[in-house]
Subunit: 487 residues, 2 copies
Amino acid sequence: MDLTITLDNQIDRPLHQQLYEELRQTILTGRLLPRQKLPSTRSLAQSLHISRTTVTQSYDRLLSEGYLESIVGSGTYVCAQLPDELLHSSPVETEQTLNSDPIHLSCYGNHLSQTLFALQPKLEQPISFRLGQLALQHFPIALWRKLLSRYCLASSDWLDYAADFQGYLPLRQAIAAYLSRSRAVQCTPQQIILTNGTQQALDLVMRLLIDAGDGIVVEDPGYLSARRVFLSHQAVLAPVPVDESGLIVEKLAGLDSTSLKLVYVTPSHQFPTGSILSLARRLELLAWAHQHHCLILEDDYDSEYRYGDRPIPALQGLDQSNSVIYIGTFSKVLFPSLRIGYLVVPPSLVFLFTQAKWLCDRQLPMLEQQVLTEFIEAGHLESHIRRMRSHYDQLRQTLVKALKTHLGDRVVILGEQAGIHIMVKLQTSWNDAEVIQRASEAGVGLESAQPYYLQGIDRGEFILGYGDLDSETIAMGIDRLAQALEK
Amino acid sequence: MDLTITLDNQIDRPLHQQLYEELRQTILTGRLLPRQKLPSTRSLAQSLHISRTTVTQSYDRLLSEGYLESIVGSGTYVCAQLPDELLHSSPVETEQTLNSDPIHLSCYGNHLSQTLFALQPKLEQPISFRLGQLALQHFPIALWRKLLSRYCLASSDWLDYAADFQGYLPLRQAIAAYLSRSRAVQCTPQQIILTNGTQQALDLVMRLLIDAGDGIVVEDPGYLSARRVFLSHQAVLAPVPVDESGLIVEKLAGLDSTSLKLVYVTPSHQFPTGSILSLARRLELLAWAHQHHCLILEDDYDSEYRYGDRPIPALQGLDQSNSVIYIGTFSKVLFPSLRIGYLVVPPSLVFLFTQAKWLCDRQLPMLEQQVLTEFIEAGHLESHIRRMRSHYDQLRQTLVKALKTHLGDRVVILGEQAGIHIMVKLQTSWNDAEVIQRASEAGVGLESAQPYYLQGIDRGEFILGYGDLDSETIAMGIDRLAQALEK
């Protein structure tokens, strides 16, 4: 943990006061994050060469003021729910900055500072069903390393930018071919803009298409990170519910469409419910969007992991009127810190997106683009996907079986045909927070689906990510969860 | 060149018409860029299996409409100055998109589409004094490869994000230490936000601090890429001239400061004049900024290459009131496609910038962060900088000597004490375009300083980048230039 604390014996403020201020500052500036565990009073005292009483005094004050919370038998944590007014007003209050001018933010900056969310560290539990985790131990590091090494030496081209402002052309060609054969996406390499992953793709779309007050249709529940980007641009969200066939397209008719600019969908694997948008609804959605002059933003974030029927063609491939922007990423199939994703945009938007990306941060690292190109062209991508699909499929079957075995009719499993998490509805008398607390006491981490809904009420719905677990752990975790909920 | 042309014999539009439309589209969407050379009519005819007459007919029409220009003895090029109305209105006019809905852009998108600039490919001349080129052949590829290889195998940590949202902590620590010893920048690792280079740093600052109509003081002449980012956010530029001691700070007094939010400066090596902001002016600027509640944006883009006196401390290190945001990058000292730069921000802005970067595109690739950390910590960065400084110094001396030898009192050399380009003022009877044309006919590429001024009038000032050249080529280039200007 990055907890650099500077105390000064020479100053006449007492040490516990100094420590209190340092820790408070650390929390307010986000260096210590909500739910992050603090060192024990003993170990912090040792590392700072001060008495344990001093540390205890500081902790006590922070506890009483709501910055910290103590969990019996576990330790002291930064409060999961920091009082909003702290986060909203605080970062400017430090002693150091009181001397300086108030800093005037832009509208975007101001809006963002009013809606700061905690950047959450990963939950630490012996068995954590965490969302978005991958079986990274199966990534072919040796192969990737070999390719890196080879391209490092093959030429020195990779030291400089790609000649193409949209990104390395051979990579865009490889992606266009891959998308065509695997997702029925119809595009030329010229329609592809390489981005640093999905997040930048979403942000570019917002910047170029959305003004404050513009409406965006979102799935409810839906992908939180996308929603946050939309909200950071002060878009107005128009939630539409989903069922087992994905977004309920007919509900769009009930919306006031005047300010709607965009429909954001995850048709291959609705996040987080896991349902798949039916072909009929896809066509219906395309027709609706065309009729209402809305663009569709198709986020195909983990379409590769699909266990049931043949995949349904991407909306982009079904579209006849250039009204779909398609987003894909390699973070989910390869590894998260490979910051390579892409946008497929209608021809008329190519130059604008290219220029926006260039203004925004130029290009992607070239060596990775070359390595990824070969990785795709030599067939490694698709064979890796096949391997991982079968690996995740096995985990998924274990999870489903364990849920049925241990929870029986106390659980309803939603959309398990795709992805690397499943959503469940638990029949219990506990509310969501109690379920999580009980699970946590049994050493099991799981997430409520609550934050993914626009209206965050308790529904007894939870999300179980299993990508980084093994079958044994999954079975044990569900066993423990079931026991914890029985008590 | 990426010139994918699709012709269809079955369609009843004549082939020359189809080819005309395809090529026009290619230019309008920016796939063919201003000044880019087209294939000869013969080679295009061969590759498309059509008659040369067909190609000539299409070229002729594009020439007559101002899309192409023909340079005798050299070939056919996309027009350097495409008529503005073409670039502004065109990308939506394609046949393919006429069927689709008009796409409504955001204010930012609209503004950008009104101010599209050509993304220019590199000038191709036998000897090109191009700006921003580096001696990449001296980059220690073998060492970098060894480190990549080592960290690839050392653990699989690099597959996932860094635990720290601001970027990999050890890298931020290494940067803070490096900045402290080399630039007298005073910061903790907590004040550092890693970015994909300078460009993203500039863009984040704009997003968080600048609204349309806000004023930004810029050096005149100044860095074009920064100005483009500022303008893309609809900032109002307040140009202030520079002299041999950098920005003329006393001229700030003449500005209406009410809407000014930011002063953008390149104090270590003013771009492009090469002057260095004096210590007295640095202090004066800090006082002015504090008094007028303005932030200073200090872009230290190539401060490493400095040949004269001891470096003057960065503004950031002299600042007492947290009013400086400092930007640095490794693209210029290592290689351009290493997309790692950083912001050093006042403590009160840390959390906001961290969150904005996270929303914008998450994090930087982890493997490169690890490799760069070791590269800095093991002393490779600084020894590479020393080596390159001496290499560039030699080139610079050759260039200065050649200019004096061949052009004598027809040239005034401006600010040659830093960087990897110099600016010169030529005494000639030719205007800037004529100088460039004559140089080009002699096989020498050079850039007019004109675009770097807000008022683009002819001043006889030119910029000579020499980073990727060798001494012999430099001497020969200046010799040829001198001869070309004598005729």
